[in-house]
């Protein structure tokens, strides 16, 4: 599968990646190396003794807490995300079309908003206690510390698993499952032996993102009082910069290790390539219909409906109250431009991220290429660096650079910052999408004389579309809630819904913050439905 002209044959191309593709991947890898190089340089410049930092107890303790949280959140999101995807895509669950639209949305809550809403609802003296106290329940589970952080992060990150798995499930061929069933296998056996091998790549892809997100999260862990490595980086960022940068280097190193390990494991997993000819099977739930509905409703009730209700309560209280103090009232009209800006930034970033990441994904999924593997690892691990570090790295590289300087604090450079930070979310989805295109299809098209570009657009892209759009959807949702890079690098006056939420929260205007959060959820619902969920909706 060479870059131009008919390919001489699959056997040869498998070992020799096209030069053009390798060069593109090299460039992408070098660009994504930027944040890591910045962190490394700062460590040298500040004279951080990374060696002794690594072995000190004050590093190990928060690091082990970060890892403990990340592993447990990964496990629970893998289970819940896969379960929800299967129930909403492949079964006759009542209301599944609505659940499909709702399921990705919890991702769009900035984690501090989600955590604040849950604390307000569940903490001692909170909204729920006020509601349940009259019926005799007077103590709710303690939300602080590990349990609270695990709960909140599971609720708000499971879409990293849900979206790619749902996309993959929607494009499975029914033939294997039908055969297995005709042979008398039970539905569970069919799921385990036929469906799982086909979706495991997507589950791993999503779970890895959850892991990396969790170790980089700041908002939820600080609000819930769980002291992780990233929390310490934030606490030290101003007045103990040698330590903050040393910890950031350690965090980046851990992320790279995890990414490389996952990649190695991924290559050993078996893949099943089947092209969908008909729509996938729908599994009747039978007597499990109602328990399944309780599970889906209960989980999304906590992850989405509950927080939205709390936000709605605050917004309603603000809209109806007569608050004359400046900055505490609500301003619905003032959210128009932030909404447009958020949508614009989200869509552009998603498109650019897919374009940047697809060549790398193609290279890694189709060939054995060291350059592809290295570029891929850089892209994915970049997600684990705290957003403020990525943003500052771009400031560092761009502010005095000949060409980039002119773009400093303009939209293109902001989009670049988003892509650097969030590109990982498209990478693995794109790899899974590429893997879903049978090589022999392209070869067949080539034999028939179709040119490379035409093959890409008429044969391969349509097959990759569900996976690519799932990846794009993740990037879009994450971009719309991104804060540190937006505050530091957006053009002056380019307010987004995320900056609006943060600004209102910062000045104590709970109602306006809640209102902006609700608009963000609504906008996300519209955009994910248009771009991602509609494609799953035909089955």
């Amino acid at each position: 599968m060479n870059a131009g002209g008919p390919s001489p044959g699959a056997a040869a191309s498998r070992h020799r990646p096209p030069t053009g593709l390798v060069i593109v991947a090299l460039v992408v890898g070098v660009v994504f190396l930027g944040p890591f190089a910045y962190v490394a340089w700062r460590n040298i410049d500040l004279g951080t003794d990374v060696g002794s930092l690594i072995w000190s107890r004050s590093t190990w303790e928060p690091l082990s807490r970060s890892l403990r949280l990340a592993v447990t959140v990964s496990a629970s999101t893998a289970l819940v995300g896969t379960g929800l995807a299967w129930l909403t895509i492949r079964t006759d669950l009542p209301g599944r079309r609505i659940w499909r639209v709702l399921s990705p949305l919890p991702l769009v809550f900035p984690s501090f908003v989600g955590a604040t809403a849950l604390i307000a609802a569940l903490a001692p003296g909170g909204l729920i206690e006020e509601i349940v106290a009259p019926i005799g329940i007077d103590s709710l589970p303690d939300m602080r510390g590990f349990r609270g952080a695990w709960f909140v992060l599971t609720l708000f990150t499971f879409p990293y698993v849900y979206l790619p798995v749902a996309a993959r499930m929607g494009s499975l061929s029914p033939s294997l499952e039908e055969s297995a069933r005709l042979l008398g296998r039970s539905p569970w056996t069919v799921f385990r032996t036929v469906v799982m091998p086909q979706i495991s790549g997507s589950i791993w892809a999503g779970t890895l993102l959850v892991f990396l997100y969790t170790i980089s999260d700041f908002g939820a862990v600080t609000l819930l009082g769980y002291d992780t490595l990233t929390e310490q980086i934030y606490a030290d960022k101003l007045f103990d910069q040698p330590r903050a940068m040393g910890l950031a280097l350690i965090l980046g190193g851990v992320a790279l290790l995890v990414v490389v390990a996952e990649r190695a494991a991924d290559r050993r997993r078996q893949r099943i390539e089947v092209v969908r000819i008909r729509d996938p099977l729908t599994v009747p739930l039978g007597r499990w219909k109602w328990p399944a509905l309780v599970f889906v409703g209960g989980f999304l009730g906590n992850a989405l409906i509950g927080p939205v209700a709390v936000l709605g309560f605050w917004a309603w209280r603000g809209l109806t109250a007569d608050v004359d103090s400046v900055g505490l009232g609500t301003d619905f009209g003032g959210l128009l431009w932030p909404t447009i800006n958020s949508a614009q930034a989200g869509l552009l970033t998603a498109a650019v991220a897919i374009a940047v990441v697809l060549p790398v994904a193609w290279l890694t999924a189709r060939y054995r290429s060291r350059v592809g593997g290295a570029a891929n690892s850089m892209v994915v691990a970049g997600f684990a660096l705290p957003g403020v570090v990525t943003a500052l790295s771009l400031v560092f590289w761009a502010i005095d650079a000949p060409v980039l300087q002119r773009w400093y604090q303009t939209l293109p450079l902001l989009i670049l910052a988003y892509v650097l930070h969030l590109g990982a979310q498209a990478t693995r989805a794109a790899q899974v999408a590429v893997a879903a295109v049978p090589e022999r299809l392209g070869d067949a098209a080539a034999t028939l004389g179709a040119r490379r570009v035409r093959r890409l657009f008429s044969v391969e892209l349509p097959l990759m579309a569900p996976g690519l759009f799932a990846g794009a959807g993740l990037v879009m949702l994450s971009t719309m809630k991104e804060l540190p890079a937006t505050l530091l690098l957006a053009p002056i006056g380019f307010d987004t819904l995320a900056t609006e939420i943060w600004g209102a929260d910062d000045r104590g205007a709970l109602a306006q913050s809640a209102l902006a959060s609700l608009v963000l959820v609504a906008l996300s619902a519209v955009l994910t439905w248009l771009l991602v969920i509609r494609r799953l909706d035909h089955y």
């Binding site: 869509l347 552009l348 002056i492």
Partner: protein
């Protein structure tokens, strides 16, 4: 499927066009004024924009503002170095100003400008000047605590009878500023002892001031250490909340005045205009606006404090002199961490 195919290019095209228009608007906006300055503001837009607009109307100097978190904006200025587009930095925390002053990123201000406030509320080397003040208080739930049971000194909070009752935000800038002042006043050893006492009391941790005020309001904890104006604002949003401010005696260490301040960057090419802006923010009119809007203390002598608050004059004007502390805030953070107060 077909619809999405058509829709996607349209959405992207609209995004690109909107981007292009947005950039045009920015460009034409900055060309119109004769003089223009760029401000990095840690103070929220709603709490300062009207004043900035009034400044532009009065002087004809256009103001471009980037809003953000004070600490992160300080890091931005630090990373941008000589090429920083900013002329003025307005910070919610003196620590962020102190950091930049220590790195020679701030330009010494006109002595006349600095002398508008008490010397305690400005940098000793004149690199920044205070704009407003916040007083450290104990916020308490009036349904859970009798005001008579509150201590006379913040140092008494290590008493076992306050175990588990006092919310703190050890990683927050204002708590760090408070500990820094404590070190300057009673020394590192006694400060560490106090922090360890708070740690031994299992004082509940929060991220910052506002969650403490909310937790006290809900009754999750009976009291917490915060800046005075968070509770006043919470009460404005919902007057039924049973949280109240307790002002420690004015000469107590716990009654630290934390200033928000402004500075002109060393790399600014419009330092005069920048100073004009700071001078405007210290004008009586602007200072009155701060007092009315955010219930902060005006720092210009003669401007009345927000109604219901004790006068600022009584307070020991011991603002933190970062120069005297040697290892500065790094030492504070190390002490806080060493004490185990962070949970």
């Amino acid at each position: 499927m077909m619809l999405t195919k058509k829709l996607l290019p349209v959405l992207l095209a609209v995004s690109v066009i909107a981007a292009a228009c947005g950039n045009d608007a920015d460009a034409s906006g900055s060309d119109t004024g004769t003089a223009s300055i760029t401000v990095y503001s840690g103070r929220s837009e709603e709490l300062i924009k009207p004043l900035l607009d009034a400044f532009t109307a009065q002087t004809g100097i256009a103001v471009q503002v980037r809003f953000g978190d004070s600490a992160e904006l300080a890091l931005l200025v630090q990373t941008e170095g000589e090429s920083s587009p900013a002329d003025v930095f307005i910070s919610q925390s003196p620590g962020a100003l102190g950091l930049l002053a220590g790195e020679d990123r701030l330009r010494p201000l006109d002595p006349d400008l600095v002398s508008l406030v008490d010397p305690a509320f400005a940098a000793s080397d004149g690199t920044w000047v205070g704009l407003t003040g916040r007083v450290r208080v104990i916020v308490y739930n009036s349904e859970m605590v009798d005001e008579a049971d509150l201590p006379d000194s913040v140092l008494d909070l290590t008493d076992p009878k306050y175990a588990g009752k006092v919310g703190v935000a050890p990683t927050n800038g204002s708590f760090q500023d408070f500990v820094t002042a404590m070190r300057a006043e009673i020394g590192d050893e006694a400060t560490l002892e106090w922090l360890e006492g708070m740690a031994a009391n299992d004082s509940p941790n929060y991220q910052k001031n506002s969650p403490i005020v909310e937790a006290v309001g809900r009754g999750e904890i009976p009291m917490g250490l915060v800046n005075h104006y968070y509770n006043l604002r919470a009460l404005e949003a919902d007057p039924s909340v049973p949280s109240a401010n307790y002002f420690l005696p004015a000469d107590d260490l716990g009654s630290l005045v934390i200033v928000t301040g402004g500075a002109v960057l060393a790399s600014s090419d419009a330092p005069r205009e920048g100073e004009q802006l700071l001078e405007f923010l210290l004008s009586e009119r602007a200072q009155e606006t701060f007092a009315a809007q955010t219930q902060e203390y005006p720092l210009r002598p003669g401007v009345a404090p927000p109604p219901g608050l004790p006068p600022l004059e009584g307070y020991a004007a011991d603002t933190i002199d970062y120069d005297l502390l040697g290892d500065g805030l790094t030492g504070t953070i190390e002490l806080i961490r060493e004490s185990g107060i962070e949970q």
